[in-house]
Amino acid sequence: MTGMIAAASSGTADASYFARAERREAWSFALLALPGLVVIGLLLIVPVGWLFVLSFIGKDGGVSLENYARLAQPVYVITFVTTFQIAGIVTLGSILLGYPVAYLLSQLSPRAAAICMIFVILPFWTSVLVRTYAWLVLLQRRGLINSWLVSLGIINEPIPLVNNFIGTTIGMLHVLLPFMILPLYSSMKTIDGDYLKAASSCGASPMRAFWDVFFPLSRPGLFAGTVLVFILSLGFYLTPALLGGGRVSMWSMQIATNVSTYSNWGAASALGVLLLVVTIAILAALNKVFRVDKLYGGR
């Protein structure tokens, strides 16, 4: 009797009930992600979308491509070339410096690796502004580097190391190097030492074993690090703005200058949209090869 009443009150379930229940659950999970998506939508998509619209509006207020046409001017072309040059050098530099460090870390005992890791993590944690400031101090005319070089007799008088291309590159390399080391290290850590032993037992010299076995297996990390460092360099603002001394014109600085000096929102937007398109194109091209959303997993 009570059973029947309960059955009546809870209702019987049919196929459509189950389908609805399943959909309701899926949506309730999507709902959990909603606040975050709203924040990103309102504070990232809307502002950037607005710039996108602005970039197609000409001086007269009508729709035009003049903002993009202007990007062919020599001043911008020089900026693009400089940006890619610096991004390229910084990426290359971070590979050359990052690979040996990641390799060493992966070969050390966990204890020793944890200690050495501090040298990578501490800079990573330290504010970019502070580190850039430190380089400004180190590289200045009467700074530590110059005085060492002079006292070592390598140079006769202080050379300009800051407020130029060199300073910008060094500063950016320092800021971005951990972004190379961390993904590299996490992919190298998973390489089983037995592979190398197997290679040697097949008769490969240690060098040969490294190139034939270790290097190919470390490639996913190298790839992730390279992409990360390159796209971060393309859009980098802070370090070039402080260490370039106005003499190095990078893409992001052109955007800032157009806004603050010329109040030219159209030009700034066009530059920004192009920068974003280039960044996303690089990521999209590489997304085919590996999972971009895994990029930041190394942290």
Partner: protein, 361 residues
């Protein structure tokens, strides 16, 4: 608490894959039912539907006449023991077992008594303050069990709960579980892919394959009277011989007319695809055809003899090349019966041990 559970027309599709196909199962109040089936047959899926973690595609489950499927998992009053125990690592033994009671807002003193009672039942009283990661596999298993029964659920579900334990411990736990069930009489659904475990523990066994219920019967019936070739093969070592059906309703194997068992209801349903299922321990050997009228006797040639300690396995070959195993008890009386390789022999089976099964899976 004893409740009947009635599963009606239950189906589950994952995309186009049918994990459960129209399952109908009536479980009596207080019954211990085992779901037995090979890996991937849908046992876990069925259990998860019962527990409320998988939404079925269609069907109904009535518990004491009331629809279960419309209730959220936390209101189902079902105790669930996971294969990997799923003990909460941040709680000790006491806190784990007290968890369902705290959720039910029982007074402290009552929680205390009930937890102690449950721990007594699984014989773990001295471990009450242990962190759960300091327990052995068997002890974890018992804690998981205690946690699942302490709130007196209406139904107890166990998913391959013993498979992670070593053989000795497992057999001990099987007996303890049985005893526990005799004390509590909670309606229980136990999942395993180990046929011996299923035969030992259950009131009834539901054999599942490819998401479909094949046979639901007592352990004896499942073992002695399997309905299909799949069931016979799954619950015990079996040799299948093809059965030819005569026009007059009689059946024969290798041209020899078959003497049919008493419970030949199965034969009435015998389709063209019928098999004679023979179990090694039900067979006997003789040098010549058995004269007895209740025995089916097939001629074969001995091939080899394998000593297995508690038994002696004679492998013989039929004229069509198929081999069959005969289990002999290695006692002195049987010594004369052990044939030499190449020796012609007869294999005898009582007609009531001659199982006819259909070829369906």
């Amino acid at each position: 608490m004893k409740v009947p559970v009635s599963i009606r027309g239950l189906s589950k599709k994952f995309g186009s894959f049918e994990a459960l196909k129209d399952i109908n199962l009536d479980i009596a109040p207080g019954e211990f039912v085992t779901l037995l089936g090979p890996s991937g047959s849908g046992k876990t899926t069925l259990l998860q539907v019962l527990a409320g973690f998988v939404t079925p595609t269609s069907g109904s489950i009535l518990v004491a006449g009331e629809e279960l499927l419309t209730r959220p998992p936390h209101q189902r009053e079902i105790g669930l023991v996971f294969q990997n125990y799923a003990l909460f690592p941040h709680m000790n033994v006491f806190e784990n077992i007290a968890y369902p009671l705290k959720l039910r807002r029982l007074p402290r003193s009552e929680i205390e008594t009930r937890v102690r009672g449950a721990l007594d039942m699984v014989r773990l009283s001295q471990f009450i303050d242990r962190p759960v990661d300091k327990l052995s596999g068997g002890q974890k298993q018992r804690v998981a069990l205690a946690r699942a029964i302490v709130f007196e659920p209406r139904i107890l579900l166990m998913d391959e709960s013993l498979s992670a334990l070593d053989k000795k411990l497992r057999e001990q736990m099987q007996i303890e579980l049985r005893h526990l069930h005799e004390r509590l009489h909670t309606t229980t659904v136990f999942v395993t892919h180990d046929q011996r475990e299923a035969l030992t523990m259950s009131d009834r066994i539901a054999v599942i394959n490819n998401g479909a219920l094949i046979q639901f019967d007592t352990p004896r019936a499942i073992y002695d009277r399997p309905r299909t070739r799949f069931v016979a093969d799954f619950v015990g070592e079996t040799t299948f011989l093809p059965v030819e059906l005569g026009t007059s309703g009689g059946a024969s194997v290798f041209g020899t007319p078959l003497r049919l068992p008493d419970h030949a209801g199965a034969v009435a349903a015998a389709q063209s695809d019928s098999w004679l299922a023979l179990r090694p321990e039900k067979l006997a050997l003789s040098p010549a055809a058995s004269p007895e009228t209740n025995v089916n006797s097939f001629s074969a040639v001995a091939r080899e003899t394998i000593f297995q300690g508690d038994s002696l396995l004679v492998i013989a070959g039929f004229p069509d090349g198929q081999s069959i195993a005969v289990r002999l008890v290695p006692q002195e009386a049987n010594r004369g019966l052990v044939p030499l390789p190449g020796q012609p022999i007869h294999i005898n089976v009582h007609r009531n041990d001659s199982i006819l099964v259909s070829g369906d899976v």
